[in-house]
Symmetry: C2
Subunit: 395 residues, 2 copies
């Protein structure tokens, strides 16, 4: 017999991997200026610090760190993660914390716990590509919520809830990927109220929260939820190191937490203890505030350089002015095609991600996402000027 | 609204976690002799070695080890894993290797890639509890294959394939969990031929292969497969350290490997680079052969002590005599109930896992699984004597 595409599970057949990954292959070209990724800056990563902590925790815990661990997580890390999340508007104790493989896995096991094929799910549009792929793999029916400069429009979301009876709503409230937009305080309260009123689980994906360069910290949607409808998903990828794959979800509903733990049992038995212990030590030693202050100082200047670089773009371009995170979102003058611009830009050694990929229903061909965290200021200046030239040549 | 069990995905509702996990909670009692687990011995774990390697690889690779990595895996580890698996009858190159979170995740992403709700799957009976749970979470219809002292009975498996047209067959060929039985060479060839004849993907779960204490090494089922129907799943949990969560699957079919990579993208983006690099360094430095020789020497004596301990069991008890692995399987005289024995045994500070849990269809109440890797020889002697007394008192 010959193995054919028909052997795959029906919902997996049309999924052929993220468009972004194809883009990333182009970035290996020497001299390429890339605004395409979503990585932290290499200068934000501390291999010597991590090596020191690895040695310390292996000395402290010995074989316990190398044995099988609990799916529920490594308890010292659950404690320090709960304290870290609690410092800024997440209502949780160590008991509520499920350590995960980055934020990605929290969403995966939440989908596994809740979604039957065909179930409706609400999400922002545009939204995180990885989340779109994950929802499709569980065969969810994606419903796009309208958004504006303050995030999800609550009244529109309520109408969609009444119409589609979704089980789940996926939201990135702070410095959203891809737009950089932050959901306002009032809307955070209102979404928590909707969740409770209609019985919708909110997946609050908040990995950029502590990369704030201006404006005031906001409490999470989860902090306004008194009934356990909001699953708060955080990650240490953007704060400490993505390569360690350490995330933490806060799940106040014990029924739901238990079912997610069961899903994680079958997914990977448990998260690696060494990685949880390294991030735990990082937090307990009080290294996070100083580290965040340093990297936010750098990212703030990089963001400002990028915003300044829009002077090279054609008139009629609009863009967001994020208060934090890793991305700026732009719309070129109506009628322009960012996919075509992308091809020309790559020929000219500058890259970004065309915005259409972030829309569950496609379209919006004039939009694009720009990352500033991975380039230093001279590179951002050069890259924005070059990109501006390419766009104007296409316009 | 109130969150109720009805909110869960239909297939997840009846799954309430492994019975073994409840058993493990009883083991914290002081003085308990546990033959219940499946962990490596603490004396097999090397925290100082791992700490040294962590420091070295972080020095060698620097920030590259802390950035996002490829879902396909860390290439140096893919190379060394391919070489390690190839030394004993697995046909693979680095390209075929997908690093995973232990062997668990390889099976999870394989199920995600292939299984539509209701699809039939063949498995041994008894089989690994975690695999039963995983298959149920994907709503597969489990079909038990008859086995004997040489593993799966091929003719019976063929009849079941004709009857149920399964997409997938799950087999643990070497020192099976829970029985310790090894699939014979002829049957390995025959299963590979069945896979190809009928178009059935075989998930060959082989995490104990290198824990051999007697007998001859056997080539994998995968090595007899020329068309890419067999996915070979290995893990470094039993050889280096389960807490690191490093596994490696060899997948020769590029279509299937690609779809598993896509499933893994949404599951956890990628496996942590530090952990892959540690195991890579362990392999490249040639530490594995000496380490395996040392731990196999210890485990061999522990196994022999356990086999000797059956002299304390009532007449009519039968048990396997494994050539490796971590488990011995026993059947008490017909009519005895290992669940009842278990309760009395725990009162007397000795524990095991009742065998019924390993059968997809339950039953077989007189069977039990005993682990010898986690107890030293005096403890095994004491524990088997005590367990023998409890059983005879119940008999």
């Amino acid at each position: 017999m010959i193995f054919t595409e028909e052997m795959f599970a029906r919902h997996m057949r049309p999924i052929n991997g993220s468009a972004i990954r194809e883009i990333f292959k182009l970035l290996a070209k020497p001299g390429m200026i890339s605004f395409a990724g979503g990585n932290p800056s290499n200068t934000a990563l501390e291999p010597q610090v991590i090596a020191g902590l690895a040695g310390e925790v292996l000395e402290q815990y010995g074989t316990a760190l190398l044995q099988y661990g609990a799916t529920d997580g490594f308890n010292p890390f659950r404690e320090s993660a709960a304290e870290f999340l609690g410092t800024c508007g997440v209502n949780c104790t160590a008991e509520d914390i499920l350590p995960t493989q980055g934020g990605t896995q929290a969403f995966d096991v939440l989908l596994k716990a809740l979604v039957d094929p065909g179930d409706a799910m609400l999400c922002e549009s545009p939204t995180f590509l990885g989340a779109i792929q994950a929802m499709r793999e569980y065969n969810a029916k994606l419903i796009s919520m309208p958004t504006d400069e303050n995030g999800v429009i609550v009244e529109a979301a309520e109408e969609l809830i009444k119409q589609y009876h979704p089980k789940l709503m996926y939201v990135i409230p702070t410095f959203q990927n891809p737009t950089g937009i932050t959901l306002s305080l009032e809307r955070r309260k209102a979404l928590a109220a909707l969740a409770s009123k209609y019985g919708v689980v909110i997946a609050e994906d908040d990995p950029y929260r502590d990369l704030r360069y201006s404006g005031e910290e906001l409490p999470s949607i989860q902090s306004f939820d008194e009934e356990g409808w909001v699953v708060y998903m955080s990650s240490f990828s953007k704060y400490v190191a993505p390569g360690l794959r350490v995330g933490a979800a806060a799940i106040k509903n014990p029924l739901l937490r238990r079912k997610m733990v069961i899903g994680k049992q079958s997914a990977d038995t448990h998260s690696p203890l060494l990685n949880q212990a390294i991030v735990d030590a990082y937090l307990r030693k009080g290294m996070m505030p100083g580290h965040l202050a340093r990297i936010c100082g750098d990212y703030r200047e990089q963001l400002n350089a990028m915003l300044d670089g829009f002077k090279f773009f054609p008139e009629g371009t609009v863009h967001t002015v994020p208060q934090g995170g890793l991305f700026v979102w732009a719309a070129l003058p109506e009628g322009m095609d960012a996919m075509k611009v992308f091809e020309r830009a790559v020929e000219n050694n500058v890259a970004f991600v065309p915005g259409t990929h972030f829309y569950p229903d496609g379209g919006h061909l004039n939009t694009l996402r720009l990352n500033f965290s991975m380039s230093d200021i001279p590179t951002i200046n050069r890259g924005m000027e070059r990109l501006g030239e390419v766009i104007r040549a296409e316009g």
